[in-house]
Symmetry: C2
Subunit: 469 residues, 2 copies
Amino acid sequence: MIVVSHRGPYSFRAEPDGSFTARPGAGGLASALRPLLAEGATPGPDHADTGRNHWVAAAITDDDRAAVAAGAAHAEAIDLHLLALDPGVHGQHLDEVSNSVLWFLHHGLFDLPNEPSFGPEFRDAWDSYVAVNRTFADAAITCAEPGATVLVQDYQLALVAAMVGAERPDVRLSYFTHIPFCPPDWIGVLPDHVARDLCAAMAQVPCGFHTARWGDAYTASARRVLGPDARITPAFTSALGPDAAAIATVLDSDAAASARERLDAEVGERALIVRTDRLELSKNITRGFLAYDLLLEQHPEWRSRVVFAAMLYASRATLPAYVAYREQVEETVARVNERWSTADWQPIVLDTHDDYARSMAALERYDVLLVNAVRDGLNLVAKEGPLVNKRAGSVCLSREAGAFDELRAGVLEVQPFDLVQTAATMLHALEAPAAERTARAERLRALAAARTPQRWLDDLVRTAAPITR
Amino acid sequence: MIVVSHRGPYSFRAEPDGSFTARPGAGGLASALRPLLAEGATPGPDHADTGRNHWVAAAITDDDRAAVAAGAAHAEAIDLHLLALDPGVHGQHLDEVSNSVLWFLHHGLFDLPNEPSFGPEFRDAWDSYVAVNRTFADAAITCAEPGATVLVQDYQLALVAAMVGAERPDVRLSYFTHIPFCPPDWIGVLPDHVARDLCAAMAQVPCGFHTARWGDAYTASARRVLGPDARITPAFTSALGPDAAAIATVLDSDAAASARERLDAEVGERALIVRTDRLELSKNITRGFLAYDLLLEQHPEWRSRVVFAAMLYASRATLPAYVAYREQVEETVARVNERWSTADWQPIVLDTHDDYARSMAALERYDVLLVNAVRDGLNLVAKEGPLVNKRAGSVCLSREAGAFDELRAGVLEVQPFDLVQTAATMLHALEAPAAERTARAERLRALAAARTPQRWLDDLVRTAAPITR
């Protein structure tokens, strides 16, 4: 089995003696897959592998690149193929296409009167996207034994599976998208040749999504772009689930213990609202604070009785839109805190360190978990929270999150653009009788545990198929 | 027959002697319908009316309101019912709901990470929208004779037809939307009760759109909001067409003659690109200039051989987004002109006066008409141009305009977000051989003339039906 993803399972650190140490990579996907791919792990009941699994990924850090140059980018349990891409080409692939265009398109984040505006430089950037996909495909082709299964991951690598299949009809392929897919009314925002390249490549392999909504949008978009008679390999749905064992390990750590103490000091006997997200436009962070502000304004009885702990870690700091968004979030927090703070109460506690143990510790003790995304491929936090929460807390979940359909029966629905509705939903979560909260939390725990990384991987392996022409 | 529209067929001017003079109103819809509704006009072959037709509309200007107060808001040919609405309520209805929310929603103009954000004040604004619709409905009910036909126009009055039908099951109803309708992925941006009110009202009457694309989007959105078992009156499609006689009258005027002279002086022997639009975010004005800039950059042979005449008249100057957009447009024009101007050539001539005769005169002589809207309900200019153009000019038409499906065979398709494609399309329009241009212009003229205001009105009258419960 060969996994192909932009971020790999390990990152490297250059040691003073010139050697390199492999450390687990940061990405959520890589964390979920890493233990499953480790040597000896069986990828699924019907596809027990015989040798080591392969993983093709990009060198991300300078140390990663140095490890590749030194021929030292190896890991014990997995046959790792780190690609040291040309930095200029890789930057265009990532910043100018993947993160600025495909991410915005599929999450519906474009301010269409102004953005995007495709000039000649985007032609170059798209060529870089194709070239990077080509490099990944070549690496996968090189390491694929006859009849291998190649599992390509996410929107940065949408062309790879078709490229592999074009040269290797023997190989079983699958391409999984972890983000939403835009509806047909939006696919035409892309330059025509880009939309065509993208849909034509995807149409040749089984494409997977976390929820049927994105799969249906993909199918309708591909139909619009490729025409009514085009052959489109059926899409499949398979939601990822939380890795309970990994979370338990984190919660057993010293870091979690000290995070718990800090939270106790910050929150005390008060009710706790939690959110934990990347600092990301699609997460709808500002409106969450504005809804909380409204709750405090309209329900004075809750002032000084609740704390909103927001764990928001920086991301994509090279993109101006993200820098501006971070400023907007911080200004909003400052304004709300200034408006309502008292001598012994700060309504919002903002933490922008990337501290996974603290996030997990906060999930243990929330009364309300707010996940109000504008649009989200799945949102794994909405499943991790109920799994570890110890207070029969409620999840207020955006109906625009991919996980909403699965979790619907156990969550309180959030309309992410409606501050009044969001505030009312959080208030209901705070004030609902204990019996109601307990019943909902139990229902939600069962729903959240229904899917695991192993089941998800089994689905990918089972649906993988040779290329369709 | 009763027409109900926000803007009426006449506006009033207070004269020094205390009397009021009725003058034709400015709106495109009102201009098209006015002659057809005038006394004695037959609304359609099967529905010849016997008496005067009624028109219910809002008093817009101070003089309109004074005319209403004086009981003097009358017109000769039509039984006019001008409504002097409470200014605060009317302002909320128009600025805070119709123009800031419904217009943006249906044209896909929201910058979703930031806008909209529905707080308590939007609840008030929506109540005002309902109240204004109620006032229009009451006026229509009062003047409707038994079995009358009530034709409600456009997105400001989406609830009126259902309100009339609830009290008057005898009346035949039709509600026509002149703008696009949002796809189901976007209808949920509205607060739930607003989406429900809107779709529930529309579902009870035959809803008309300029093109099947908007009708399909409405039906799918209503289905999403109201549920799979809801009863939805089938939508219908009927495109408006240009009023050839009215345009001919304008082109016969002294104003048109002097506009022609001015254009001759500005353009001379050069090729002429024309656009004529409201200064409106959905019209994609900036990208049009950027594409032209790219054309001049990449094709030096066209410098000083072409003029881009942009007739852009101000609109919605009370909304900050429109003020900012106007500044952005003017800055872009200044930058392009600064970059390429020579002693005897200015690449873009920008005219922000609302001068209909000049616009029509420009349509007579364009070589290229650019209509590159982000999204547009129909775009009547794309039909008016080919009707009067005298130079076998080409229309570069956005595929996001409602008129695109009708005119497809006679236009050059524009991808409105792609500057490279837009520039290439304009270049092709400039350089295509005369035979190709003539053939296309003839095809387009026939397509553009296929629909007239009378045919459109006949469709509305024919499809009008009593309320569906």
